[in-house]
């Protein structure tokens, strides 16, 4: 049997990353001079600081699915006339670079897997996403210390992963406990065996202990399962949705910051009279124009139902379609919303209403 658990001493992390960088670009959480931590492509391993104690404020979404991406450019041949034949399209695929993503949190890894089902899981593969995604290597970091707004335990995406990564690192103080899942991870260990020593029983015990302790450190209790169940039973919290919708300020920030919101719009941008670019850009279901049809009809009552689609998609539709909720519990949408309309507030409100009803029912029985 191939060994799947190793130890990498912390002193050897930087030398190991330096080797990896010889044939790949490196993306890792970097704390910049303004104190913001973001997943960033590292140009200089020695003068940029990898920050593993803070949650990166961005997810990995934009590395595979940029906010604005040119799909192709086109030209129009006036001589051919007004027909479809007048158009010529010249696709422009992004370069398929080899990139190692280091220090990826469990929720963010889970989000990449979700995006894979959306962009690569159907009958047609999304070639743009595929090109950026194909040569990616993921080294995740198990969360020993969940952040302020995290609820991956409730969303069942963390704090430790059981699958999906190439390598998963767990911080054991002076060393990392390294687990291998995918073949690409195994290849890395085989290529640089000098950094890895087999994990022993003590290490495994320490790893288990860390996993155990991290579960007790979540500051938020979010009943994702109950919310999923209530929506599945046909619960329609109209009043709650209307209240939250009224406070939504239509910024789209929740969808843009969300690692699993994948809606996009495609627009043609003319560059001159006879040529232009076809571009896809992030879109958000909270926007009026997302559902507005010709003739100004909108199937969504924008004032009272603006946020409905978003919460239902995450907690109901994706459960039906893919077997699980697509909220990964990263907590990024919490605290950043202008009106305080985040998914936790929705779940709390939904469950609180249910609590009240159950209390009433119990009172009735008495």
């Amino acid at each position: 049997m191939r060994r799947k658990q190793w130890i990498l001493h912390k002193d050897h992390l930087l030398p190991f990353l330096r080797k990896l960088r010889k044939s790949r670009s490196l993306v890792a959480p970097v704390r910049n001079s303004y104190g913001d931590t973001m997943y960033t492509e590292m140009n200089d391993l020695d003068n940029e600081s990898i920050e593993l104690a803070e949650q990166p404020q961005n997810s990995l979404k934009s590395f595979f699915f940029p906010q604005r991406e040119k799909l192709c450019h086109y030209s129009v041949d006036e001589a051919v006339g007004d027909s479809a034949q007048a158009y010529r399209f010249y696709p422009s695929l992004p370069e398929s670079r080899a990139v190692v993503y280091f220090g990826v949190r469990s929720c963010d890894m889970f989000a990449v897997m979700y995006c894979d089902t959306i962009f690569l899981g159907g009958r047609e593969r999304d070639v743009y996403y595929d090109a950026r995604r194909r040569n990616a290597l993921f080294i995740t970091l198990a969360c020993n210390h969940p952040f302020e707004n995290c609820f991956c335990n409730a969303a069942r995406t963390g704090p430790y992963l059981e699958m999906g990564y190439d390598l998963q690192f767990t911080d054991l103080g002076d060393r990392y406990f390294v687990e291998v899942d995918k073949a690409r991870g195994r290849e890395v260990v085989q290529q640089w065996p000098q950094f890895f020593v087999p994990a022993g029983d003590d290490d495994r015990q320490a790893h288990y202990q860390a996993a155990l302790e991290s579960r007790g450190l979540f500051r938020r209790q979010v009943h994702v399962d109950l919310a999923v169940q209530l929506l599945d039973q046909g619960e329609e919290p109209q009043a709650l949705l209307a209240e939250l919708s009224a406070r939504c300020q239509d910024c789209g920030g929740c969808a843009f910051i969300c690692p699993t919101c994948t809606c996009f719009n495609i627009v043609d941008q003319p560059l001159s009279d006879d040529r232009g670019e076809r571009v896809r850009t992030w879109d958000a279901c909270t926007f009026d124009g997302f559902t507005r049809m010709a003739g100004n009809h909108n199937s969504v009552q924008i004032i009272s139902q603006r946020v409905t689609k978003r919460f239902y998609h995450k907690l109901r539709d994706d459960v039906l379609r893919h077997g699980r909720s697509s909220c990964v519990g990263c907590g990024r949408c919490v605290g950043m919303c202008f009106g305080g309309v985040d998914i936790v507030r929705f779940i709390d409100g939904l469950c609180a209403a249910d609590d009240k009803r159950s209390e009433k029912r119990e009172d009735g029985h008495d």
């Binding site: 303004y34 009224a246 300020q249 926007f287 124009g289 202008f338």
Partner: protein, 541 residues
């Protein structure tokens, strides 16, 4: 601006944006905050979630008005009687902060005498707000320890804008709600560096840092630094320039316009057009061929904010550094380079190797920016002026210990009716403003596909009762006519307006709203009466 400057001594926001979250009472006036200043609205939501009380003074039922504990839906242009009413209630209920009035203010007696003549029934008749609501709002505002007033162009863009602002400032001083953290009077600035453009002396009567052109000591300092002899005659204001005011001998023969679009933003566009066309020479620097640039003799292609280094100053007086991200397209160059080149060719060498060197000169000559060296602004979130020297940490809230002008001055005011009241020929009052998705004349925002999808045509908001009476269906094409001109909109039913009032925004060149608006303006601040003009509406068939 002029309003706060004459009462407090400084025309800027007294607090920082973040302080709003910790206020106990927020009085918001003439601001559609959720649309025009979303980050401020976010702090108001936070404050309300933490138990703060919100009072909104606005003729429109804005999102903030829906959240408010009290919405004083006054008739447009009746702020002064409303505030006099509130202050009378404060006087009657002994809620005046007498110690503050005595220690920190002046000219209180004339205000008190005026307030004693106020008849609250008359106030109700003028404003349309009940005595009960006025008294409740006054009580809530006066009794809290940390009350803050925020206002926007709904207060200033009136013929009596200065007096409006002075009345709000008076309310704050009467109750001692200023000169501390979390309390004060905060005008919300509309553009990213409108504060900075004022600070830098982009105004006819002041040099950088609000140092008066008329002051010989100030001029002497600049004369020596610049090696010239400066004119002591204050210049013409924006509207004097674009409307060609004054005697024929004052009319401009040439203009240099940097990144502005008066052909859409200024009132009475016919007059602006005539003025620009009458010039011998017009040069415009801009990103796009705007309505104004299209009339120029020379157009300079300028760099956008992403294509240059430099600082901008936000509404809370925070001077922040912007990094250059990319090169300008084609031959476009930043405005600093353009001005230096032009100056050199006109025989006055300006040789700055970087924007940091320009800032060093600003620090030298501008006391409030004395410590704003670039190296202090990079890698952090900037500093708030006044900041006198390198060691100064910046100033999060103004007027600690005393007002900038010494004592705060009460300026009693009486009602000024709108310059153009409605009548049978022009029965509607048109209010203009900014929408959420677009920005000013739309030069930038209308080039953003997503924003344009969200809001792609000019709407006229009308109460459904009015629309039903006129028999115009929702979505119809309508023509709005004032005494000065007319333009076309798409009608949108809107419950949040009072019947008789109309609302539209000014971002669309297809519907240049400012052909309708008045040239009447405030006598001190020269702010045009954008918020109100009398119009009639017809369906276009």
């Amino acid at each position: 601006m002029a309003g706060l400057a004459t009462t407090f001594g400084s025309g800027a926001m007294t607090n920082s944006i973040n302080e709003l979250s910790s206020a106990q009472v927020i009085l918001l006036s003439g601001s559609n905050t959720t649309e025009a200043h979303p980050q401020v609205a976010r702090r108001i939501y936070d404050a309300v979630d933490q138990g703060a009380r919100l009072i909104v003074i606005d003729p429109r039922q804005t999102a903030m008005a829906s959240l408010a504990h009290i919405h004083l839906q006054l008739r447009p242009g009746t702020d002064i009687p409303l505030l006099n009413g509130m202050m009378r209630c404060i006087l009657d209920e002994n809620l005046v902060d007498e110690l503050f009035v005595e220690m920190r203010t002046e000219n209180y007696i004339p205000l008190r005498d005026l307030l004693l003549t106020i008849d609250l029934n008359e106030v109700t008749a003028t404003t349309g707000v009940s005595i009960k609501d006025i008294a409740r709002a006054a009580r809530i505002y006066a009794r809290a320890q940390r009350s803050v007033i925020c206002y926007c162009l709904g207060v200033t863009q009136h013929i009596c804008g200065t007096a409006n602002v002075q009345s709000y400032a008076g309310l704050a001083m009467l109750t001692g709600h200023v000169e501390r953290e979390f309390t004060g009077v905060d005008p919300l600035r509309g553009q990213n560096n409108v504060q900075g453009a004022c600070d830098m002396g982009g105004l006819p009567a002041v040099l950088p840092g609000y140092q008066m052109v008329a002051d010989p000591v100030v001029r002497d300092k600049f004369d020596r630094a610049w090696g010239v002899c400066l004119s002591d005659k204050p210049g013409q204001t924006l509207l004097d320039m674009t409307h060609g005011a004054g005697s024929p001998g004052d009319k401009l023969r040439a203009m240099y316009i940097m990144g502005e679009n008066p052909m859409l933003s200024d009132p009475v566009l016919d007059q602006v057009e005539a003025t620009l066309d009458s010039l011998d020479f017009l040069v415009v620097a801009d990103l796009f061929l705007t309505e104004t640039a299209a009339r120029a003799d020379v157009v300079f292609p300028a760099a956008s904010f992403a294509e240059k280094n430099g600082t901008v100053t936000n509404s809370e007086r925070r001077v922040q550094y912007m990094n250059k991200a990319i090169d300008p397209p084609g031959a476009a160059r930043d405005d600093g380079w353009i001005i230096m080149e032009l100056s050199r060719r006109m025989g006055y060498a300006m040789e700055y190797e970087s924007s940091a060197e320009i800032m060093e000169e600003i620090c030298l000559l501008t006391p409030i920016y004395g410590g704003m060296y670039h190296d202090r602004l990079i890698d952090n979130w900037g500093l708030q002026w006044p900041c006198s020297d390198r060691a100064h940490p910046g100033t999060p809230f103004l007027h600690k210990f005393s007002f900038a002008r010494g004592r705060g001055r009460f300026q009693p005011a009486s009602h000024v009716p709108p310059a153009e009241p409605v009548d049978s020929a022009f029965p509607f009052l048109l209010i203009t403003g900014r929408s959420y998705h677009h920005y000013h004349t739309g030069t930038m925002s209308r080039c953003c596909p997503t924003l344009n999808r969200e809001h792609d045509k000019p709407f006229l908001d009308m109460h459904p009762d009015d629309a039903t009476r006129l028999n115009i269906p929702d979505g119809s094409r309508v023509q709005v006519t004032s005494r000065r001109g007319s333009c076309k909109f798409f009608l949108r039913y809107c419950q949040s307006l009072a019947p008789g009032d109309l609302y539209c925004d000014f971002h669309f060149h297809e519907a240049p709203v400012n052909v309708l608006t008045l040239s009447a303006r405030d006598p001190e601040a020269h702010c045009p009466e954008f918020k109100l003009c009398a119009v009639r509406v017809e369906e276009v068939i």
